[in-house]
């Protein structure tokens, strides 16, 4: 399994000059290989979301490096990080977070279109992913017409539309019932593996641990 992501000595402190600085991430190092699934769990406030933001290039760490495809995300400019997010990282958020005025198909095709993929190719990718996720018949619907589970699967399709090397999922089953949550986790694991992508799942869901290759525990910003 080739190494895809390597984070080295990451630290992030909120309000460092305030009266009560919060050390959200303290000296965290981890690596994720292609096709590997890593689950990160921990209590609320343990720094999981901050860590995920840093790994996804949404937040710059105070210290440390994040190597993805041989580039240091921590040192990259905002525009470079946006480009890397667009082309190399897929995101799955708690509530799906689809654009409400676009159909399921358009939501999936949006990212490749913005990245410069042709309209036909973007549409073909969206068709194929939605079909694989059992949403072929729901492609023309707006998010408001989709169930929570369907919306989350559309978000999963969107995350994979650029065939990213890394998929980051933040509590992807938090708003789903047992059955739907299980389906989404299974699809998440299967599709990322099929695409050879690394998957990092931040979750409280014990089922995520069951599908993960490794489970990391984060407590007070430190990996146990």
């Amino acid at each position: 399994m080739s190494e895809l992501l390597r984070a080295v000595h990451l630290s992030k402190t909120w309000a460092p000059d305030g009266p009560a600085p919060v050390h959200a991430v303290c000296d965290v190092s981890l690596a994720v290989g292609g096709g590997e699934t890593v689950a990160i769990n921990g209590p609320s406030g343990s720094g999981k979301t901050t860590l995920l933001s840093i790994l996804g290039g949404l937040l710059r760490p105070d210290a440390g490096q994040i190597w993805l495809d041989g580039r240091d995300l921590a040192a990259a400019s905002e525009a470079e990080r946006a480009r890397i997010r667009l082309t190399r990282i897929g995101f799955v958020f708690q509530r799906g977070l689809l654009l409400p005025t676009l159909t399921a198909h358009e939501n999936v095709a949006l990212v490749p279109r913005v990245a410069g993929v042709s309209r036909a190719e973007a549409a073909a990718r969206a068709d194929a992913l939605l079909e694989q996720l059992g949403l072929g018949a729901r492609a023309a619907l707006l998010p408001a017409a989709l169930s929570a589970g369907e919306a989350q699967r559309v978000a999963l399709a969107r995350a994979l539309a650029m065939r990213p090397g890394l998929v980051l999922a933040d509590e992807p089953t938090a708003h789903l019932d047992q059955a739907r949550g299980g389906e989404v986790l299974a699809a998440l694991k299967a599709l990322t593996q099929a695409h050879g992508a690394g998957l990092v799942v931040v979750t409280h869901d014990p089922r995520a641990a069951a599908v993960a290759d490794r489970v990391l525990h984060l407590t007070d910003g430190r990996l146990a």
């Binding site: 995920l52 949404l58 905002e78 946006a82 890397i84 977070l97 913005v114």
Partner: protein, 341 residues
């Protein structure tokens, strides 16, 4: 947008209306009493005795046509209106109404032709009678083109005003003789005692002047207020809409959509919203202007062809300025927001 279009349209309508009748009076030089206004609707001009004879003897004068007119208040049905009464010769066309909608084109001795706005104001129809001096005048016809907003033009037969004591013409309209130099003639006439000569353009401009002086500042105030209020509403609407959708913009940023593209979306959406508002406002303005003309015929609107594009450009500019605030708000959105919703 709607208010600006209607207000500006009314302004141009008034400007056009106040010279609607005066510009039908032929003559390259208009001669009035020295020191009196050349605006027909607020003039006390009375040419001095012998002025007409002196004009006709002036070298270079081709023809001289007098206009006998007088400002009067007409009262009927407990309503009153200011009217500039013009004497019209039954045989000569000079001074006749711009158009006749109903009834006679030339008044009989005991008749008056009134503008449709006056007919509307005083609830008069052809055949009705209205008091004038010690007698009455019968409405012999309804005319058009004689509405000058603050007053209207009405027409009586030659001799009616003389019976009321108006023996001097208010103005004389002069045509230079063929080959005569107009400016030299203007100077020669102005040198005569008790009169003042105007070029035709000056005469028409004098008739517009009061409108420009009184109405234009009000219109400008209205335009500035409308732009300020409208701009604020547009800005607040765009800002509120942007804040309401900050999650979506944050999502786009998180997914890696370039900042320039995200801000472009905001500008585009602001432009579309403003454009729809501009088009809607202009259409609503035309509809309102049409409605006003039906309810109050006095306020005719004349929307120049250049006005809608200028308003559209102005509206889009206001929209663009109003979009600055939402664009800045979106620029500040942290893409990490997506993990907190």
């Amino acid at each position: 947008m709607m208010l600006v279009l209607v207000a500006t349209g009314i302004y141009f309508g008034i400007l056009r209306a106040v010279v609607g009748y005066p510009q039908t009076l032929p003559g390259e030089i208009v001669v009035g009493e020295a020191g009196a206004s050349a605006a027909l609707l607020h003039t006390s001009s009375r040419l001095p005795a012998g002025a007409l004879r002196a004009l006709r003897r002036t070298p270079g004068v081709g023809s001289v046509t007098p206009l006998y007119g007088r400002l009067v208040w007409l009262k009927v049905h407990a309503r009153q209106a200011l009217v500039f009464l013009v004497e019209v010769d039954r045989t000569a066309p000079f001074g006749a109404p711009v158009a006749v909608l109903e009834g006679r084109a030339r008044p009989q001795l005991n008749e008056i032709l009134i503008d449709r706005v006056l007919a509307h104001d005083l609830w008069l129809e052809v055949g009705d009678e209205l008091p004038f001096g010690n007698g009455v005048l019968r409405v012999g016809g309804i005319t058009d083109g004689g509405n000058a907003i603050l007053a209207t033009y009405a027409f009586v037969a030659k001799g009616v005003l003389m019976l009321g004591g108006t023996t001097s013409p208010s103005f004389a309209f002069v045509h230079p003789a063929p080959g005569a130099d107009r400016d030299a003639l203007l100077g020669a006439i102005s040198a005569q005692t008790g009169v003042q000569a105007y070029r035709r353009e000056e005469f028409l401009e004098e008739n517009r002047a009061i409108t420009r002086q009184v109405v234009l500042p009000l219109i400008l105030i209205l335009v500035v207020l409308s732009a300020a209020v409208g701009g604020s509403i547009v800005a607040l609407t765009l800002y509120a809409s942007t804040i309401e959708r900050r999650e979506e913009y944050g999502l786009l940023k998180a997914l890696g959509v370039p900042r320039r593209t995200v801000l472009g979306v905001v500008v585009l959406e602001s432009g579309i919203a403003t454009g729809l508002g501009v088009v809607g406002g202009i259409l609503a303005g035309f509809a309102l202007a049409h409605g006003i003309a039906i309810i109050e015929p006095r306020f005719v609107t004349a929307v120049p062809a250049w006005l809608p594009p200028v308003l559209a450009a102005g509206g889009m500019l206001v929209g663009l300025v109003a979009a600055v605030s939402p664009v800045r708000a979106v620029a500040r959105i942290d893409p990490g927001l997506v993990f907190r919703v």
